[in-house]
Symmetry: C2
Subunit: 534 residues, 2 copies
C-alpha cells in the first residue's frame, strides 16, 4: 500500500522536492516583496515520539502497531496548523497505538479493549480533518487510533435500487473504481476525495459534488452500521421513513463520538452520459449570487452552480478580476440536459449575466461525454481544485498563512455576513501580516441560501504561522456566528470549531447528545472533546 | 371558532346526518349482500366523563378547560379504532385538563406545571393521529392535553430566501391563507391537511404533496423552536450545515416526547404558474412501478408520480380494473414544464405505458394555471382524496372495517413485500370477515424505492370492528417488518405501531433516544409510551 506522508497532504511519494520548495519560496518572495529561503521538510528519522504508554493485549496485537510512522501520521489531521506543526517536527501527543482492524469483529475487539481499559478510541478514516477531528486529546493516559482503511470493499450492489453496501474505510478513488464496472458512481467528490473515506464523509456530514439539491452525504445514506461500546447500531435500508427521529441522522455528523462506522448502504448514481456546461459573467459577486439564487429557487437543480467572486474568478478561471463568474453544469445518466441549461441561462441573463451562445456546451452523445467537464475552463478549475492542497504543501516553512473556511447563511443575511467576514479577515490580516488577500466563492447553493467559502492568505513570520492563522480563523468565526451563519458547512466541528459550535447549537440539544453518548459509550472513550465535552 | 366533532373526522357541522348514515348502510348492505341498519351517532349529552383528577393552578387556569367536549375531543386521535370507540361512547380515559396556551410563555407555564407536579403532558396539534399519538396513557394519575391551536400565525416572511416563521399550532388551510397574499405556499398537503397542524407535521415526519424529491416535512424545516421542561431548544436558521448531528432531525419525528414545538422557520415555495399532467396506463402494477422507478431515477422530479394499482385505478380514476395508472404531474413557479413532462412520458412509454398525446396537459400561462390540477381525473382524484375521511365517518356502527397503512421499501424487495402484505391482509380478511378487498398505490417514489400505501376493507360484526382491525393491521405489520419495510412512511409511530417500531429501530438508537429524552424531560412527563417506554 502507498505510504502516506507524515506531514504533508498526500503520499510520501507526493511530498514536495526541495527544488519545488525553492521555486515556491522564490514565487512567494516576489509576490510579497521579501526574500524567503526554503526550509527542508522533516524526515521520519528526525522524530522521537513519546514511548507508547499502553500495550494492546495479545488478542488484538496482530493488527496493532506502535511504529513511529504509523503514530506520527495519525497525530494530526491535515489542516493548516496540522501541516505546520508536523513540518516543524512537533509531535508531543501521538496516539500510543494504531489499530488496523481487518474486519468488523476486529473493530469490536479493539473498541471493547478501549472501553474496558478506559483508553481513548479515535476512529480514523484517512485523517483529512482540518478541524482537529482525529487529534488525540492532551489529557489522556492512553490513546488508540482506530484506522478503518482495511475495510475498503464495496460488498454488494442493488442495481435496481441504485444502492451499494460499502465498507466505511474505503478511500474515494477505490470506491469509484469498484462502482465503475457496474455503471455507477457515488458522485461524492469533496476536495479531500483522494485522501478521505466513506466513513469519514458520513461522520463529518461531508459536502459533495452537487452544488444544488441532494449534496451533503446525509442525503445519500440509505442505512448505516456502527460499532459502539455497547453493541452494533444498524438501521434498516429504507428509501424513506417516518418512524421516529431518523436513527441515521444521529450518526451522520457524530464525528466518532458515538461509535465506529463500519459500513453503509449508499444511494449511488448512474454514470452521467448527458452534460451541459456554461460560464456566465456578472459585474459583481452580488449579481452572480442573485442569479444562483433564482436558478436554485427555480428547482432546475444544476449539478454545478458555483459562484466565483472576482478574485476567485481571476485566480481560478483567468478572468480579469473585475467580473464574477457563475459556473453552471448539468449532468444526467438518463435525460438530455440541453433544455435545463437553456432555462438556467435564461434566468442568468435576466439577472444581468453575459454568456456567448457558443460558450454553452451541450453534450448529448456518449462518445462526447467521456471528456465533458474535463476540458477547458471547467477542466482547469477541477484540476486546480484537486491540486490545491498539494500546492499548499510547498509553502510550509515560509511563514505563509493560507487557509479556507466555509459557512452557510440564508439569502436575506448573506450580504451582511459577507461584509462582516471580509472585514474581520482583512482587519486580522492587517494586524498580523500587514495585509493579505480574501476571496469568496459559493461551493453549494440552496433555495434559501448559499454556502460561501472563503480563502485567505497573508505572510506572517516563520514560527508565527499557527498563532496568526488561529487569530484569523477566530476573527472570521466570531463574525460568522454573530451574523447568524453556521460555523461549518462541510468542514465539520472537531475540536477547532468548538468555541463557535458551542454558541451555535441549542444547549438542550447538547444536553441530549451528551446523554445519548453516555448511553452508548458509558466509559466515554470515543473521541472526547470533539463536539461536546467529556 | 368552528367546533370539532368529538367522534368524527372534521367539524361538528360536518358530521354525517342520519339520512347519510342510512344511505351508506344501504350501500354497504348491497355491496356485501347483507341487511345493515344505520346506528345513531353519539351525542355529547350521552357522555359522562371521569371527573378531572387534577386542577390547574390559578396562574394557568385562565387558559385551561375541563369541559366535557374539550376533553372528549382530545381523548383520541382520528384513526379507525379512535372513531369506532368514540362512536360507541367509550371514553374511559380522557385527559383531565385541556390547556389552550395563547403564546409560548403559556406553553412554558403549563409544561412547567406538568413537569413539577408529575402530570402527563400531551402536545396536541389538531389530533389527526391515526396511531394513538395523542391518546392519554392508561396508567397515569393526571393528564394534561396541551392544545397548540391558538398559536396559529405566520409571524414573519423572508421573501428573498423563500422562508417563513410560522407558529406550530396553525392548521393547514389557515397557513396557506396567510402565505397566499405573499405569493407563497408550503405545498404540504397530507390527507389530513384540513385538520392537522404544522407542529403536528414536524412532530410526526409528515409526508407531503410532492411525490418525488423533497416531500417529507423534514426537508422543509429550516429551523425549529421547541419548549422542553428544561428550557427552549431552538436551532439557527440555516440553508445547510455540517455542524454535528442535525439538532432539527432529533426534533423532527419526536412525536411530543422531547418537548412542545412552538414555531419553525419553513422553506416555502412560489405558487405554481406552470403545470403539466398526464395519466399513463399499464397492464400491471409492476409495469407502472417500473416506470415510476425509472422516472424518479432520471431525476426529473415530478411533483406527482403516483402509481395506482388496478383496484385503486378503478375506484379513484374510473379505469376498468384491468389496468394500472401512473399519474404524472409537473409544476413550477418559475419554469415551463412541458419539456420535463415529455421526457417523463418518453420514459413511461419505453417502459410499456400508454398515453394519448391529447391526454398530456401542459399549462404555460398564468390564466390557465388557476384551474390546472383542479379539473378532470386529477381534480376528481384530489377531491376524493380529501373527502375520504368524511366518507368513512358514515360507515361507523355498521361493522365495516376499512383502514389504510403505508410503508417504504427498496425496489429490489418491493415485489416480495407487496406479495407478503397482500397475503397477510387477504388471509386475515378471510379469517375475520370471510373476505374483503385490498388495493395499493404509491404515494411517494424515491430513486431507491417506493412508498406503497394499502387500503383494505371487510365487513366484520358491529362491536367486533376494533378487534378485527387490530388483527388485520397486525398481520400486515408483521409482513412489512419481516419483508424489510418501515412500519410507517408518514403515519408516525405513536403507541399503535410500537411493537413493530421496536423491531425496526436499532436498539442502540432507542437507548440513545431514551437518554436524550431523560436529559430534557427529567421527570418523564412528555407523551410517555409513544416511541419509547417511560
Amino acid at each position: 500500500m502507498a505510504i502516506k506522508s507524515f506531514w504533508a497532504w498526500g503520499l510520501e511519494s507526493e511530498e514536495p522536492t526541495m527544488e519545488q520548495m525553492r521555486e515556491m519560496a522564490a514565487k512567494v518572495s516576489q509576490q510579497y516583496g521579501v526574500n524567503l529561503e526554503a526550509v527542508a521538510p522533516p524526515k521520519l528519522s528526525e522524530l522521537t515520539l513519546r514511548q507508547p504508554r499502553i500495550s494492546p493485549p495479545a488478542s488484538i496485537a496482530q493488527f496493532c502497531s506502535t511504529e513511529t510512522h504509523d503514530r506520527a501520521v495519525r497525530s494530526y489531521g491535515r489542516g493548516f496548523r496540522d501541516r505546520i506543526r508536523a513540518f516543524n517536527r512537533q509531535f508531543p501527543n501521538p496516539p500510543d497505538v494504531v489499530a488496523n482492524p481487518r474486519n468488523e469483529q476486529e473493530v469490536e475487539a479493539v473498541l471493547g479493549w478501549c472501553s474496558e481499559a478506559g483508553h481513548i478510541a479515535i476512529p480514523y478514516g484517512a485523517g483529512s480533518s482540518v478541524v482537529g477531528g482525529v487529534e488525540p486529546p492532551e489529557d489522556a493516559d492512553g490513546i488508540v487510533s482506530i484506522d478503518l482503511s482495511a475495510l475498503d470493499k464495496v460488498l454488494e450492489i442493488d442495481h435496481l435500487s441504485r444502492a451499494a453496501r460499502i465498507q466505511a474505510g474505503v478511500y474515494g478513488p477505490a470506491l469509484e473504481d469498484q462502482l465503475r464496472p457496474h455503471g455507477f458512481t457515488l458522485r461524492h467528490f469533496p476536495q479531500s476525495f483522494e485522501h478521505s473515506t466513506l466513513g469519514g464523509w458520513i461522520a463529518t456530514r461531508s459536502g459533495g459534488h452537487y452544488a444544488t439539491n441532494h449534496t451533503h452525504i446525509d442525503d445519500f445514506v440509505e442505512s448505516v452500521r456502527m460499532v459502539t461500546p455497547t453493541g452494533i447500531w444498524e438501521s434498516r435500508r429504507l428509501p424513506g421513513s417516518g418512524a421516529g427521529p431518523s436513527p441515521d441522522r444521529m450518526i451522520i455528523g457524530s464525528e466518532g463520538i458515538l461509535g465506529v462506522i463500519t459500513e453503509a448502504w449508499m444511494r449511488v448514481q448512474g454514470r452521467p452520459r448527458f452534460r451541459a456546461s456554461a460560464g456566465v459573467t456578472f459585474p459583481t459577486l452580488q449579481a452572480s449570487a442573485d442569479a444562483a439564487r433564482l436558478i436554485t429557487q427555480s428547482k432546475l437543480w444544476p449539478a454545478n452552480c458555483r459562484v466565483l467572486g472576482p478574485g476567485e474568478a481571476a485566480n481560478a478561471a483567468g478572468l480579469d478580476g473585475s467580473q464574477a463568474l457563475l459556473v453552471l453544469g448539468f449532468e444526467s445518466a438518463d435525460v438530455p440536459q440541453g433544455d435545463f441549461m437553456r432555462e438556467a441561462v435564461a434566468i442568468a441573463r435576466d439577472a444581468g449575466g453575459l454568456v456567448d451562445e457558443d460558450a454553452i456546451k451541450i453534450v448529448d452523445t456518449k462518445s462526447q461525454a467521456a471528456d465533458a467537464g474535463r476540458q477547458g475552463a471547467v477542466g482547469n478549475w477541477r484540476d486546480s481544485f484537486i491540486r490545491a492542497p498539494y500546492i499548499r504543501n510547498m509553502t510550509a516553512g515560509l511563514g505563509l498563512v493560507g487557509d479556507t473556511l466555509e459557512t452557510a447563511i440564508t439569502w436575506d443575511r448573506w450580504p451582511q455576513l459577507d461584509a462582516a467576514v471580509r472585514d474581520a479577515l482583512n482587519g486580522a490580516l492587517r494586524r498580523t501580516c500587514g495585509g493579505g488577500t480574501v476571496t469568496c466563492r459559493f461551493t453549494h447553493v440552496y433555495p434559501d441560501g448559499p454556502a460561501p467559502y472563503y480563502t485567505f492568505e497573508g505572510l506572517s513570520k516563520p514560527g508565527g504561522e499557527i498563532e496568526t492563522c488561529d487569530e484569523l480563523k477566530a476573527a472570521a468565526s466570531d463574525a460568522i456566528i454573530a451574523a447568524g451563519g453556521t460555523i461549518t458547512h462541510h468542514h465539520a466541528v472537531g475540536k477547532l470549531h468548538r468555541p463557535w459550535y458551542d454558541q451555535q447549537r441549542p444547549d438542550a440539544f447538547a444536553a441530549a447528545l451528551k446523554a445519548a453518548k453516555a448511553a452508548v459509550d458509558p466509559n466515554g472513550v470515543l473521541n472526547p472533546g470533539v463536539l461536546i465535552d467529556p
